[in-house]
Amino acid sequence: MTRVNHSTETMRKRTDRDVILKVRDVSVSFDMDRGESRVLDSVSLDIYRDEILGVVGESGSGKSMFASALLDAVVRPGQLTGEITYYPTEGEEIDLLDLTPAELKRLRWEEISMVFQGAMSSFNPTMKIRQHFEETLDAHQRDREEGLAHARELLSDLYLDPDRILRSYPHELSGGMSQRALIALSLVLEPRVLVMDEPTAALDLLMQRSILTLLENLQDKYNLTIIFITHDLPLVAGLADRLAVMYAFEFAEIGPSEEVIRDAAHPYARSLLKAVPNLDAPLERMRPIAGSAPDPVNVPTGCSYHPRCPLADDECVEVDPGYYDVGENRVAACHHWTKSSEAIPYLVSETDADQGDNVGAIE
């Protein structure tokens, strides 16, 4: 059991892969009457070029803040600290948190773009979809003709009728249509990175699945790096190359999807997987996680998961676990990760594997 005190070293070992975003000790805090509220607590992570990274966490775990931080778009009065480095191409280096307003404006949407949940409320209700594309192109001094041609291509890629969508008002589109139109809008300036915050939360299951398939196609075609943020672990399991599980404003476990799903090391990740409804499993095996998510003002000392963790002991209360190497390219923040699979057993459900295959099959 090798214990590495901080992630940096572990991460460096793997830089044989091409990193596009390097996140180091990034925190977001709000000053509140009750004290400082840390909604993102010094997270560090590398995001590789052309990968799909799934970020999973329950609501209030800080995952939306992580998304905002990647665009340096934390809502005021939130304070963003730390270091985010963006590598547009290999060798080129941009310090994301040290940009002038003009540079930041260029970075957002042109390099790193974002899709929010609730596409319906993401468009100006008094403007046609076409105008949204046009004004975005204008604001970034792009040629309208070319840009719109690209927009049409994107819309077709997303199985939409470009003419119809462009001349519609937002309220004339269904949820799935406007979500896809929003994805097209986020890609119109050909960014390299796409951050998606719960992009499918408001849609029905069928629409979720088909959008994921389309995303994979887009990612292939346009060489996108996608950060897919969701509370829905099974949804992203088949799609993502790697998974990062968030708990209490930190990453609990980071690793390749398949391995994390098959045998997660962190007790929280295991509990999440255990709580997944599975038609094959008898009902009593599905366990909700007892207890509640921590308050950002009063995060428990030591391991923040200890109040809910069956493995917790004095060490967990006192010492904040750093990342342990738990496999190739895998880390988990747990002192007792070796015992977790015994303590929290779950069946690797066939459905999860199936889902992965299914997505592949539709492809």
């Binding site: 974002m114 100006n124 008094t126 975005t136």
Partner: protein
């Protein structure tokens, strides 16, 4: 198109309701017009057999006919623009009111326009500077200004600026010696005479518009699409106008409708105070002298103006809010 037809249909229906209402008032109000007329005519020594005909001249129907015939008679006359003959004033009611109507519409239109525009601009700025001294100051000022009844302010303005300081005239619409036309001296005189009436409705009215615009803008500023527009790098100006202002204006539609009705309806008191001979002024004079044809004509005339104003607002609104056209159907299910 279907929506347009529906709106126009609704306007016509309202017009019909107004005319019917005025018929009911004339015909059935106890101690009302008919009795009053008959008594007056008898006093003048008109032979009993002639009275019914005389009454018809004034109110467009003969009281001794069956009710449904009276109603149809009245309806037909009004729709032809025949409001009967004025009892005390000289001439046909329609002619008197028709030449007065443009003045009333002029006051109401300018009043509504200024109230809305000033309210929207100031309210928008208040939202952008939420919590600043400007915001709290204007909030306080417009709350108190909005609390003053417009006719109280009108009397106050008249007292100070017309009687005491004599900056403005105490009555009338225009200097009667000027020849009407689109020439500056004439227009100047019209504006000069309209200044105090317009000032009294606008000063009282803009505050309410500003406060609701402020509230709407603040809630629009919290919408997702504003955040995304900023991330997309749109210019601040465009976000302020095309995104915030435009969406914040939409819920104010009802307020504007009420403002139109308020401005036109309020003309009765306002025009009386400023001795400004518009429809309201005649309606009031008619009421004081129990000149029922003038009263009813005035009511129908003002109501028609409101109906048309509302229709215009409706059509404009559908241009601003793309969802408006479908709304009517969705709302009534």
């Amino acid at each position: 198109m279907q929506w347009l037809a529906k709106r126009i249909g609704q306007a016509l229906f309202t017009l019909w309701a107004v005319i019917t209402l005025s018929f009911v008032l004339i015909r059935f109000l106890p101690g009302g017009p008919i009795d009053y007329l008959v008594v007056q005519l008898r006093k003048q020594g008109i032979p009993e057999s002639q009275i019914s005909n005389y009454v018809r001249n004034y109110v467009s129907f003969q009281p001794d006919q069956p009710l449904w015939l009276q109603y149809l008679d009245y309806m037909a006359s009004v729709l032809q623009g025949d409001f009967g003959e004025a009892y005390f004033l000289d001439g046909q009611v329609f002619d008197i009111l028709a030449q007065a109507l443009p003045w009333t519409v002029f006051l109401a239109a300018i009043g509504t326009f200024l109230t809305t525009v000033i309210g929207i601009v100031v309210g928008g700025f208040m939202a952008y500077t939420e919590g600043s001294k400007f915001d709290t100051g204007v909030t306080l000022f417009s709350t108190i200004a909005g609390g003053i009844p417009y006719y109280i302010l009108a009397i106050g303005l008249l007292y100070v600026f017309a009687y005491r300081l004599q900056y403005f005239p105490t009555g009338g619409q225009v200097d009667p010696e000027l020849v009407p036309g689109f020439k500056w001296p004439y227009i100047e005189s019209v504006l000069y005479h309209a200044a105090l009436p317009i000032l009294s409705t606008t000063l009282v009215g803009w505050g309410g518009t500003a406060l609701s615009m402020r509230g709407n803008s603040i809630s629009v500023l919290g919408e997702d699409y504003i955040r995304i527009a900023r991330l997309r790098g749109l210019p601040r100006r465009r976000i302020a106008i095309r995104y915030v202002a435009r969406n914040a204006m939409l819920p104010m539609y009802t307020g504007i409708l009420l403002a139109i009705a308020f401005m036109l309806g309020g003309s009765v008191i306002l025009e009386e105070i400023f001795a400004y001979p518009g429809v309201g002024y005649y309606l009031f004079q008619g009421t004081v002298s129990r000149d029922y044809p003038v009263m009813m004509g005035g009511l129908i005339m003002i109501s028609t103006a409101v109906i048309i104003g509302v229709l215009i607002a409706d059509l404009t609104y559908s241009k601003i809010d793309p969802r408006a056209a479908g709304e009517g159907d969705r709302e009534s299910y």
